[in-house]
Symmetry: C2
């Protein structure tokens, strides 16, 4: 189940590139069937399963063009923690920290995003 650091970073970069691509279905395809997503952590809402996860990213799809940039990356066996910037429609920049776990094939099994209003900049 464990992946080396370079492999984990490639999974994270693939995820950020796919988010920037703007297709909710393509992002959801990076997750396992029974994956879970909590964004933001503390919201009390956990999206369970690829269909629910695709629904979550549909909101993003509707928001306009997306840019992503990996700022900090830390590996951890079959997990990764990272800080990144996401720019939405050139109007808003958010810098979340996320923790993901991956299965043996590199599909995302869990995603948790940590951020609050303080991490949003209006552009």
């Amino acid at each position: 189940m464990s992946h080396d650091a370079a492999t984990l970073e490639s999974f994270v970069k693939r995820y950020l590139d796919t988010v920037a691509g703007g297709s909710a279905a393509a992002v959801a395809a990076l997750y396992t069937d029974d994956a879970t997503l909590e964004d933001p952590v503390g919201s009390g809402e956990v999206h369970i399963g690829r269909q629910a996860i695709e629904g979550f990213y549909k909101n993003m799809e509707a928001a306009g063009s997306i840019g992503t940039e990996l700022l900090q990356f830390r590996p951890g066996g079959h997990e990764a923690a990272f800080l990144f910037a996401i720019t939405i429609a050139g109007a808003m920049r958010i810098e979340p920290m996320e923790v993901m776990t991956f299965d043996a094939d590199g599909q995302i099994t869990t995603m948790k995003a940590y951020w609050s209003a303080a991490d949003i900049t209006q552009l």
Copy 2:
């Protein structure tokens, strides 16, 4: 169980200040009796319980003077994710990302540290 962002940040700063204080017993006292600690994530070793956790920090106690600096902080309900720098005996600087969960009283219930050799700088 949920804490606001400022409260969570105060818990994290108390932790980093206590680590810099250098007493393993004082750091372990910030954890609950049945807390778990994984550092680094992926090592395959999870320290379970305050006594085991104190043992983990004893290694730090032996290493010499410690400095800590909070670089990035993200709140999440009863959790927090953060990036920090730790300097050991003026000889080594490590920049881990950590995720902690807290109980209602602000004691640490789980700690996971994400870092690898790439995050160490010899000073």
